[in-house]
């Protein structure tokens, strides 16, 4: 047995011991454990699972141990991921800080910023929100107009951010702000960390087509922000933002595995509700063919992920490949949602039926429409693939 096998065995045993059986089933939205001062736990089991993972630093498995992370190398992190998937362990912690800010701080943060923020993210003490988009700056993010004026030892921030996920319960927000109004668009932007409890910050939830209101608009009215909260150099926030977007793209591509896991099992769903032939096949040949297409695409996507991982390890990865994942992943998810809705027929038309499981599936169908918009729209993804991946001219 080599080192890897030993590690796998150790991980397997540890998970068997520490992951309560109730935490080994598909996650539902109400039971996700979000970080922050207002965090709540749906059950004692959920809390125990979170705390066990937190104490090993496995809420952030590959972050350095000095910041409270697990300190795992890429192979070990992958083994942990695989073993968690094998046992169907739920993700122990949900937070934008964990997924996006952390990796960007590791690359661009000062030693003080890392020491202050990373351990609190690992421990789930702070809930982070993302302040990027504005009402007037969506796909054209660099045209953002929230401004931070230099006031000696601090900035004064005024403006508004939109699509800030659960800003109403967030503790901190990482923001792109304009610090030089005269420079070309991308060169006058800085990356700031802002305490949501500061004077002058307010939020308003936005009702969505899924009936939920995960997103908020956040307002900054002359908010004082210490200069120590500037990440990277002044006016060079675009580089930090790009680093962070990379992680967001990766996250969006795997959204299905991180967010709601109603593992619909479309084939079973279809066969339990629709006519089946004597040979046990779906009688609706057209639906059957489209289901097969979806399954093929989903299998192919998982092989593509594997190929990228192996290519990366062997140092022979075509850099265009990872650019495709967000576009493919989100569209495949939507195709799956549409098939689900079609199979449910008239039963899928209510979002307030007396079957919560059914409702959740239908709400997801509506909610997932955001996936091809958030984190860089599909159209922006295709621009990137065409220009950076294929080398077509700007």
């Amino acid at each position: 047995m080599d080192e890897r096998d030993l590690f796998r065995q150790e991980v397997r045993e540890w998970l068997e011991t520490h992951c309560p059986v109730s935490q080994r089933q598909p996650i539902v939205r109400e039971e996700q454990i979000w970080a922050g001062s207002q965090a709540t736990f749906p059950s004692a089991d959920a809390q125990a699972w979170f705390e066990a993972m937190r104490d090993r630093g496995w809420t952030a498995p590959s972050w350095p141990a000095e910041y409270g992370g697990g300190g795992l190398d890429p192979d070990q992190a992958r083994i942990l991921e695989q073993e968690m998937a094998r046992l169907r362990c739920r993700p122990p912690l949900y937070d934008m800080g964990l997924w996006m800010l952390g990796p960007a701080l590791l690359a661009y943060g000062s030693p003080e910023q890392k020491a202050t923020h990373l351990p609190r993210i690992v421990r789930g003490e702070v809930r982070w929100a993302q302040g990027y988009s504005e009402p007037g700056a969506g796909s054209d993010l660099a045209s953002l107009s929230t401004r931070a004026l230099d006031a000696g030892d601090h900035f004064v921030v005024s403006g508004t951010k939109i699509w800030t996920t659960r800003a109403d319960v967030a503790d901190w927000i990482f923001c792109l702000v304009r610090t030089d109004a005269d420079a070309p668009k991308r060169e006058g932007i800085s990356f700031l960390l802002i305490d949501m409890h500061s004077q002058g910050v307010s939020t308003r939830p936005i009702a969505l087509i899924s009936g939920e209101s995960e997103f908020c608009q956040t307002f900054f009215d002359e908010v004082k922000v210490p200069k120590a909260n500037l990440v990277g150099e002044l006016n060079e926030g675009w580089a930090v933002a790009k680093e962070l977007l990379k992680h967001e793209r990766k996250l969006m591509a795997t959204m299905e595995s991180i967010t709601e896991k109603v593992d619909v099992g479309l084939v079973e769903l279809a066969k339990s509700r629709l006519a089946v032939t004597d040979q046990g096949r779906l009688a609706n040949a057209d639906l059957r063919a489209r289901l097969a297409e979806h399954l093929m695409q989903a299998d192919a996507l998982s092989d593509l992920n594997e190929l990228i991982y192996r290519g990366m390890k062997a140092g022979q990865l075509n850099p265009a490949l990872p650019l495709t994942l967000k576009y493919i992943g989100t569209h495949e998810q939507q195709r799956k949602d549409e098939l689900m809705l079609e199979i449910l027929g008239a039963d899928g038309l209510s979002m307030m039926s007396d079957t919560p499981e059914l409702d959740r599936m239908v709400r997801n169908w509506a909610y997932n429409k955001a996936h091809t918009i958030a984190g860089g729209t599909s159209e922006i993804q295709l621009n990137i693939i065409a220009r950076r991946g294929l080398g077509l001219p700007e």
């Binding site: 084939v267 279809a270 066969k271 046990g280 096949r281 779906l282 059957r288 063919a289 289901l291 097969a292 297409e293 399954l295 093929m296 695409q297 299998d299 192919a300 996507l301 092989d303 593509l304 594997e306 190929l307 192996r310 290519g311 062997a314 022979q316 265009a320 490949l321 495709t324 576009y327 493919i328 159209e379 993804q381 295709l382 621009n383 693939i385 065409a386 220009r387 991946g389 294929l390 080398g391 077509l392 001219p393 700007e394």
Partner: protein, 365 residues
């Protein structure tokens, strides 16, 4: 799922050789020859000297041991250049049928000549649009075989045929028949891809020997899946070539005083096609890997690879013609050759609709 050092080296060697000996002009010349041979003997000799027909076979069985991954890498290069040779019919399909269905003695007698390329064989298994064991209408009577097969690759140019048939008990068996044996009538046809195929009718045709026994049903299925994966690799190569040629054209062609590659409508179409192409590519590599690791759900991998490469090859060939504008419909451009090859490949060994249906059944839909 990715090529190792040796396989990369093999691929590069074959690519260099094909660049010199079998670029697309070679297919053009072959196509336009009066007697239209199935392949150039020179080219085939060169491929054999490189060991290409023996690439996949393990070393202990007289091969080079590059596995399906190695042979697949060769087929991708073949697909990029539309190189005509009996690699698919003989080195892949016929070899696999003998290896999977033959007795130890038959393997010992027949395989070495196929590995060296001294003999060329082809498999005649299709009676309708694809192989279907239940509907075979070729029958074995003692040492004779009667029935018809269609779309037999390289039929008239092979030394012998491996023909699927049913015996009196309805068991699948495979007859080895010399092409000049009594009772064999081959109607050769050049299809739009410039390659040679044949319809073959057997009237009490003399069979040299039978590949028979319990292993034949599963063995033939595996051989067929293996060939399907390798054909998919060729189709992947053709698709990649089409994308690259089209991107290059868009980088250079100017209209309205700009490169047409700056137009977002074209950029997005190619970017979407690229995503589909990479999904197809991942499916082909996963299928080659499934062959090398003897995965038990090979059929699923094979059907997925064939469907996804078939669909993207067809789509990209249409897009390539369109984006090359007027030049795209001229015979002078090579794009049309890929367009035609894609349609033939789609029909060989079962089209996308067939494989999608088979996949659906395998997945319980």
């Amino acid at each position: 799922m990715i090529l190792n050092e040796e396989q990369l080296l093999l691929r590069n060697t074959v690519a260099d050789f094909l660049n010199k000996e079998a670029p697309i002009e070679a297919l053009r010349m072959l196509r336009d020859k009066a007697d239209a041979p199935a392949w150039e003997p020179e080219l085939w000799r060169g491929l054999c000297e490189l060991g290409a027909p023996a690439a996949a076979q393990p070393e202990e069985q007289g091969g080079l041991g590059f596995g399906a991954m190695g042979m697949g890498a060769i087929m991708i290069e073949v697909g990029r250049r539309l190189s005509a040779s009996p690699l698919l019919s003989s080195a892949i399909f016929a070899q696999a049928v003998i290896r999977e269905c033959g007795s130890a003695q038959q393997i010992g007698q027949l395989l070495p000549d196929l590995l060296s390329g001294d003999a060329v064989a082809t498999v005649a298994c299709q009676e309708g649009t694809h192989f279907e064991a239940e509907t075979i209408r070729c029958f074995r009577e003692n040492n004779q075989l009667t029935g018809c097969k269609n779309l037999v690759i390289d039929a008239a140019s092979a030394d012998y045929l491996l023909v699927t048939a049913l015996d009196r008990q309805g068991h699948l068996c495979i007859g080895r028949i010399a092409i000049d044996a009594p009772g064999v009538a081959i109607t050769p046809r050049q299809l739009m891809d410039g390659r040679q195929y044949g319809s073959v009718s057997f009237t009490h045709a003399t069979v040299e020997e039978w590949l028979e026994g319990e292993q034949v049903v599963s063995g033939f299925a595996r051989a067929l899946d293996e060939t399907t994966v390798m054909l998919s690799a060729e189709m992947l190569g053709g698709s990649r070539e089409l994308l690259e040629r089209t991107v290059a054209y868009l980088q250079e062609r100017e209209q309205f005083d700009v490169k047409i590659g700056t137009f977002q409508a074209l950029q997005h179409r190619l970017a979407q096609a690229y995503c589909q192409l990479e999904l197809a590519a991942a499916s082909v590599y996963a299928a080659m890997n499934a062959l090398d690791s003897a995965a038990d759900n090979l059929a699923q991998y094979a059907s997925r690879a064939k469907t996804l490469t078939g669909d993207i090859y067809q789509h990209l060939s249409n897009e390539a013609v369109q984006m090359h504008g007027g030049m795209g419909v001229t015979d002078e451009m090579d794009i049309g050759l890929f367009l035609k090859r894609s349609r033939v490949c789609n029909q060989l060994l079962g089209d996308s609709a067939y494989h999608k249906d088979r996949f659906a059944t395998l997945r319980g839909c």
